[in-house]
Symmetry: C2
Subunit: 437 residues, 2 copies
């Protein structure tokens, strides 16, 4: 994939809101979601964000003036999940982007007809945009690993230097921004020598992650080489990997986290396509004191590694602050470019043993944390396991999350000479734990 006219920052849309400074969804972005009008029983269908509107791909199906391949892609994306579009492959995704770009840019002869296919974002509700076959969560930020291990007085495990560590996550509890997350109950120990107790999690946390949606998979037994890995990614979103730290500490030996993670995962509704993100690719740089990885995790073409400079921000809105009509309080600001292992390396590793990926599979990057204290992507790091509570505004503090807290993620890319593009918002609210079974 190469930069092309759809990345030209000077182009504008006929829709004014798309040209506003700081807008997440200018002409150069065109991310996809699945939506319907709020509170309606309409069919879920694909939509594309532009300014403060959504292009309803269901309504756009009947529009003449799209080339064959773009029209086919629109039809595939007008379904209740985007899997049909994913299966069509990169050429179709590209045709869809370029076709919509033509329809939405200033001077389009079809602007009037396209305007009839717009739905205001404020009037829409979203569903998880793809039917996810498998969800894999990685652990690829060295800063996150170092921050966490320091708290337990241990070194980062030696395999971190050699492979992007990962585990399989839970699909059934993945939902989209706006999710109401029940505080999980479970087993934990209040001190390491006692018997466990059952009760609501006392150390509820978020994890700031980037999600990658697989567009095209591979056959079982046929690994994806690093050089081709990015062609298999449809796009990226923001992902909150909710974590119950007390449950996690007690349960995770020897087979990894289970109930500590599987109660909820929240996705942003919009998937920003890899083509839109091309201006924000960065090279992969190995920390000089770390070993050279094995061949299948190395690429002569550094851009093929699949690293991206995505600005990320975490805020918290307490119930009290929300009742006062105040905005969320910013806690963290970092970039995805700090990640030690890249998306390309994650895919190459995931498939090297013959495991097959499928269209719609979801990869989580693992917590994104940067080298500075204000770049910690989880409360366990930011508050040193709750011992140094963070100020969340108006005199409130948090070691871990309280019921009623809303966690808000934002992400965007900006770079001189290119249009700023955003991921929109990923927010979700903590509900009290239900009673015992």
């Amino acid at each position: 994939m190469e930069l092309n006219h759809t990345h030209d920052a000077s182009r504008r849309s006929w829709l004014d809101s798309a040209n506003a400074a700081g807008c997440d969804f200018p002409l150069q972005n065109l991310p996809l979601s699945v939506f319907r009008r709020k509170g309606s029983t309409e069919a879920w269908r694909g939509g594309v964000a532009i300014g403060d509107q959504i292009v309803d791909l269901g309504a756009l199906q009947s529009l003449p003036g799209l080339q064959d391949s773009a029209a086919e892609a629109v039809r595939a994306a007008a379904a209740p999940t985007l899997n049909g579009l994913l299966e069509l492959g990169p050429e179709s995704w590209r045709a869809l982007r370029h076709g919509l770009y033509g329809l939405l840019q200033s001077g389009s002869s079809l602007a009037r007809q396209v305007r009839e296919a717009l739905v205001p974002q404020l009037d829409a509700e979203h569903a998880v945009p793809v039917r996810i076959g498998d969800y894999t969560d990685f652990y690829t930020s060295l800063d996150h690993a170092v921050n966490c291990c320091r708290q337990f007085g241990i070194e980062v495990n030696p395999n971190f230097d050699w492979l992007p560590i990962a585990y399989h996550g839970r699909v059934s509890s993945i939902d989209v921004s706006g999710q109401q997350v029940y505080r999980p109950a479970g087993q934990y120990r209040t001190d390491p020598s006692s018997a466990p107790v059952y009760g609501p999690c006392q150390r509820l946390d978020y994890e700031l992650e980037v999600g990658a949606v697989i567009g095209i998979g591979n056959a079982r037994g046929t690994p994806i080489p690093l050089a081709n890995a990015q062609q298999h990614i449809f796009g990226l979103c923001l992902l909150n990997d909710w974590s119950a730290r007390d449950i996690q500490t007690w349960e995770m030996q020897p087979l990894g986290p289970f109930l500590a993670k599987n109660f909820a995962t929240t996705l942003s509704p919009w998937i920003v396509t890899l083509e839109a993100l091309l201006p924000y690719r960065t090279g992969w740089t190995r920390a000089p004191e770390r070993p050279q990885p094995l061949d299948y995790l190395r690429s002569a073409d550094n851009a093929a590694a699949g690293a991206f400079d995505i600005q990320l921000e975490v805020s918290i809105l307490s119930a009290r602050r929300q009742a006062q009509g105040r905005p969320p309080h910013k806690l963290t600001r970092t970039s995805f470019q700090h990640q030690y292992w890249t998306l390309g390396q994650m895919i190459a590793h995931h498939t090297v043993g013959g495991c097959n990926l499928q269209p719609g599979d979801l990869l989580g990057s693992g917590t994104v944390s940067g080298p500075n204290p204000w770049e910690a992507g989880a409360l366990i790091e930011l508050t040193v396991s709750g011992t140094h509570p963070a100020d969340i505004g108006d005199g409130e503090q948090r070691g871990f999350l309280k019921d009623g807290d809303t966690v808000v993620f934002r992400g965007w890319c900006e770079r001189e000479d290119y249009a700023r593009i955003g991921f929109g918002v990923n927010y979700a609210t903590v509900l009290p734990a239900p009673g015992p079974p």
Copy 2:
């Protein structure tokens, strides 16, 4: 659920092969699969095993003489997956069993018509019978845990006594008996102080497990109490959790097994329903030196715990032995009743934090090993990490699996005064690792 006339061992079928001694599929069993005629392009549809035949539920749809609820269940099960049947719930599963029982028993007035809906099992091929949303693999055999930990000179982790440990597994690489399993390649260390190398797995193993198919799920945030857990199970099958021990040892800290497991999982084609298994329920007995579990893992009604006495057997057929036309060599013989945690406890624990199960979800029991040396459900135990190779007949030995080896699982239940019912066969063959990516 209670024992009823469908468990009466004295009843016979009009199909002679169903009444033969040692048959896995008598009138009292009636397990379900999804099948089509071998090598055909027919639609996949549900089928029920009887003797050496399959009742084609697609063909049976048009038969008059089934009660409404049974007819509805047959229609739902005539689809390419059994999920529609699962969603109908326990009353429908029961109606299907009782309806088919009536059609297949001696003296049925519809025997001639049903005979027209039979397909010989030898002429059929099978698909994974359900669309699996999530796959969870447990670790619930204390004997397995002790055997494995002893090899590393460590104690079983203290949480084993308190909860059924589990991790999420990979759905995309689950296939049905007959699967060709590529030996995975990946990273491992040849000695613990060296850097890892990349290459084909040198310590390929199987794990003998029982799989449970979830029939009815639960809402997010609504745990399933132990007393109700069994109502959520549709049925059981045999499951081979293929494991690459060298890759596993290197990768599994801190987040659990990943590439060591996600290249393949093999299921037996037949799902034996929970109703068929009722005569084989056993109570849960806590080892006296182990602690009393927390309330949500205890039940006043011991039968509700969900323990089953299922006889299990592992055999290996080497390529050489196969070429000579010889049968598989028996390695292991054990019972599922030795498992420390039961299926009911697995479900109660899985959902206690609010995680939602869905129809078609798959649970693996974890390796089933019994207290005696010949009851080890994996080669790592049976051969003490390959240091004491097992005799597999004709002078061949195995520490771990070689290319061309076929691993064969069988399972059945037998008890005085009840009909023997079987699970059929779960077999799969190891192929050489593909070249590097």
